[in-house]
């Protein structure tokens, strides 16, 4: 398939269509939204299912293959907050606090983008390595800490000590469900997995579709902020993922990942957190404007990655691996 055909097929995937429906819901000024607890329930289900399945697959994975990918993932966790900060502060002229706050989002990772990349790669026949969810858990927190540390060094700490911050991020919903799910998945074995997989595996893609519908609504709620965040941030929300995505594909290939694995690692590097990063940032750098980071992560970078970015990273990985 050419990139064009892949893009077209991706546009008609349930994920992209559901996101588009969510956006349209707000464009026609409908008041509809998912009840808050349904949104939470779906995100808990998705994260725990991801962890469990990842843990189950981890028991089949060759552990020789995992060391390299772990190292490059940690490297991405250190590099992406720095590149983001540098671009925002020096090219974009954002204040120290704002640049650090946005960098905390782009240095971390979006689990939904990860899932979209997994789904995409599998659907084009490039099944990613079974240990990818393990990498996801490694990429979530370093970027937040590095970016916020820069911010605190430059503008002073807010309400929260760095110990409290570390604790908050490491024990947040995402980490508990992903890391916990991984452990449970590893320990419960084949029999456990076959008992719970009708709930956590068969329903996964449908539940994701409903979740993404609400993400479309939430993203569209921020569309009217696009004007306020300015052209630079708009460009950043598309350009930075492209740079980080290509970097992820290169490092992933270098570490021995398959095309599917490299695509997913690229999407992780390219994605921006909008669950763990916002509250951590809000309390640590209170003078940063949360509109910037949330709008860029949610209304620009998330849809960009899901619609265009992931197919592009896949093409890059194909090229890099000479396929």
């Amino acid at each position: 398939m050419s990139l064009g055909e892949i893009l077209a097929a991706n546009l008609l995937s349930p994920i992209v269509l559901a996101f588009a429906l969510g956006v349209v819901t707000r464009l026609v000024r409908s008041e509809f939204q998912l009840p808050k607890d349904l949104y939470s329930a779906l995100s808990i289900y998705l994260l725990f299912a991801l962890g469990l399945k990842g843990g189950h697959e981890l028991t089949h994975a060759s552990f020789d293959a995992i060391a390299g990918p772990v190292l490059v993932t940690l490297l991405l966790g250190c590099v992406t907050p720095l590149t983001s900060f540098a671009v925002l502060r020096y090219a974009g002229n954002f204040s120290d606090a704002d640049a650090a706050a946005i960098a905390a989002h782009y240095g971390s990772v979006s689990a939904v983008t990860f899932i979209a990349a997994q789904t995409f790669a599998t659907s084009v026949g490039a099944v990613p390595e079974g240990f990818m969810p393990t990498l996801l858990t490694l990429l979530e927190s370093p970027g937040i800490h590095i970016a916020l540390a820069i911010g605190v060094l430059k503008v002073g700490a807010g309400q929260r000590s760095s110990g409290e911050l570390l604790h908050e991020v490491l024990t947040g919903r995402t980490m508990i469900l992903l890391v916990g799910g991984l452990l449970v998945g590893v320990l419960m074995g084949e029999r456990g997995w076959s008992a719970v997989s009708p709930f956590f595996d068969s329903g996964f893609k449908g539940a994701l579709t409903l979740f993404i519908l609400e993400m479309g609504i939430v993203a569209a709620d921020r569309l009217h902020e696009l004007r306020r965040v300015g052209l630079f941030l708009l460009g950043f929300g598309v350009g930075m993922p492209l740079v980080h995505g290509v970097l992820g594909a290169v490092l992933g290939t270098f570490a021995g990942l398959s095309v599917g694995g490299a695509t997913v690692l690229a999407a992780m590097a390219a994605s921006a957190s909008y669950i763990a990063a916002p509250p951590a940032t809000r309390m640590t750098l209170p003078t940063a404007n949360p509109t910037y980071s949330l709008t860029a992560s949610l209304a620009i970078t998330f849809p960009f990655n899901v619609v265009l970015g992931i197919p592009i990273y896949y093409q890059v990985a194909l090229l890099l691996q000479g396929k």
Partner: protein, 105 residues
């Protein structure tokens, strides 16, 4: 019915503040608090259902001296950077002695 005149402080602010705010209130010596969920709109725009969370509404019954210290804390630490509103109401509390700290000194 015997009641004690006290002050009810109500604080409405972004949900991310709930935990540190409650910790700060108890550090200042409040005898308790009540929290409920809310949505709202103010000078910092509409706060409703977005991913980082809604508003919270925190109430605490205190005496006048403590009320003043709470307001001072809010003005210094929270008002400059967070979406938060606070007010006090004169109330009459049943069994109100519970909420007055034992005389110091």
């Amino acid at each position: 019915m015997h009641t004690v005149p006290l002050t009810l402080i109500t604080i409405v602010g972004e949900a991310v503040l709930a935990e540190p705010l409650i910790r700060a209130l108890h550090a200042l010596g409040v005898s308790g608090h009540t929290l409920s969920e809310a949505r709202g709109q103010g000078s910092r725009g509409r706060r409703t259902g977005e991913i980082p969370g809604d508003n919270v509404r925190i109430e605490t019954i205190v005496d006048a001296a403590l009320a003043d210290r709470i307001f001072a804390l809010l003005a210094e630490t929270y008002f400059p950077n967070y979406a938060v509103v606070a007010w006090s109401t004169a109330i009459q509390v049943v069994r109100g002695e519970k909420y007055v700290p034992p005389p110091r000194g």
